[in-house]
């Protein structure tokens, strides 16, 4: 059932340029890492898609980059306010991999803390623009951090099952290096459940809605 749940904001922390928004979990299913939720934004018409960053028995955490009106409003939510959340939505990462390596770039590291926990803290390679952005690496155990002008693709150890999330150019580069990688893509989304076709991308000549068929897609 596609039912939104009203959840209370438990609090939020600043993590470099990002904000970790914590909400009381209630009865919400955290889903599989890489799945996402649509978060209602106070004063805005459309909800915003967010990956789940952290899940404890009592709270869910979302790591948010304030890049526009929606994300800025989410970052300034105060403890005690409520917001309605729909999800988990879409397809997450396949967890049945032998030698997982997590790869993330910038705000694309958002789903990796939860993914890391579910895979028993595998190695990770994270790339950031500045040391300030790299403060978010503290959320991911076992992480090697590189800063621009070094890119994650320059330091990827061979022989791993890559699970990656980050900006499209990074995902394209990872795909060229590791054809079996699982990649979490982004597209602007209005609904998150297949209704608007805003997120449709062409894959193998077919039109696919990223919110339904993704956001995690096999690279090949």
């Amino acid at each position: 059932m596609l039912t939104r749940r009203a959840l209370r904001v438990a609090g939020s922390e600043v993590v470099g340029p990002y904000t970790l928004l914590r909400v009381e979990r209630g009865k919400l299913d955290p889903g599989i890492p890489g799945q996402f939720f649509m978060l209602e934004v106070p004063g805005r018409l459309l909800p915003r898609p967010m990956s789940l960053c952290l899940a404890t028995s009592s709270e869910l955490g979302f790591l948010i980059d304030p890049i526009g009106p929606g994300t800025r409003a989410l970052c300034s939510l105060a403890a005690g306010e409520t917001l309605r959340i729909l999800g988990p939505l879409g397809n997450g990462f396949r967890l049945d991999v032998e030698r997982p390596l997590l790869v993330g770039g910038g705000i694309g590291i958002a789903p990796l803390p939860y993914l890391s926990e579910r895979l028993a803290n595998p190695p990770a390679v994270l790339g950031f623009r500045t040391a300030w952005h790299a403060e978010a690496a503290a959320l991911v155990p076992n992480a090697e951090v590189v800063l621009e002008p070094t890119y994650v693709t320059e330091v990827l150890p061979p022989g791993h099952d890559v699970l990656a999330c980050g900006p499209a150019p990074m995902l394209e580069a990872v795909r060229r290096l590791t054809p079996n990688a699982q990649l979490a893509w982004e597209a602007p989304m209005a609904c998150g459940y297949g209704a608007c076709y805003g997120c449709a991308v062409e894959i193998d000549g077919e039109l696919k809605r990223l919110c339904v068929e993704g956001p995690v897609l096999a690279a090949a």
């Binding site: 018409l45 459309l46 609904c191 459940y193 297949g194 608007c196 076709y197 805003g198 039109l207």
Partner: protein, 300 residues
Amino acid sequence: MRLLNASGCLDALTAPDVAAGLDTFVTKTVTPLPRGGNDPVRIAETEVGMLNAIGLANPGIDAFLTHVLPRLPRPVWVSVGGFSVRDYTEICERLEGEDVAAIELNLSCPNVDEAPSGGGEVVAAARAATTKPLYAKLAPTADVAENAQAAEAAGAGGLSLVNTVKGLALDERTLRPVLARGAGGLSGPALRPLALAAVHACHQATRVPIVGMGGVSRGRDALELLAAGASDVALGTVLFSDPGAPARIRAELEAELAAHGFADPDNIVGAAHEAEASTLDLESRVGRKKGLHTRANVAG
């Protein structure tokens, strides 16, 4: 009154429980050939509504008939689009033997370059090509009432009002259009007063039933469209933020109707056209016009 979805705003196959909350499902516009749609970015949000330039992305009539239509809930309306009169008649002919309750002719998509002009001509040709009820979908242009009259004269059995109007959003940093296509169709709250005016004008100008849509997000909005002259209401953009909208808006509408002394939404259709309405005597006059005993209905 029936509650429908607005074309292009719900996929009954990926969200069957949302579609189950509606009385009739309306498909996304189907064209003769498959269309990938426009390049991303195809949606943007503004303070007052959303913009879309999806570009009639659809599998084309062949794949639609084999893979989609058989699995859709019933009753179903099929929205038909095209770039020439022949495109419309071809699809109408192919739908003739199918279990389709009505055909909505999309005469007003703002996101394709070669949309047909002369809605009346398309409706007349479609009328000759199918026995199914035809709804003409129009945008809230200044001449919407004349377009509605032309559609009615050409054989449209109903009107779907309204489609989106062109709008533009600029990126806050780069000041370039957010949508790859530049402008897109504006829907949501900004469209609501335009939809009301169009429904109001077309109710006066024609005698055919109207499906009202445009920015409905609460029961009150549905009530106002009914009062302006719509006999059915469709939900579009609101479904994106609230997949529970069908049940919620139905319940809110019931409460609004009760507050106005009506048990049945059909009794309030066109109430805005009655002279000097006040909340108190509105009910008796509309009741008289329709020959209905609204008070008795309320009691039940």
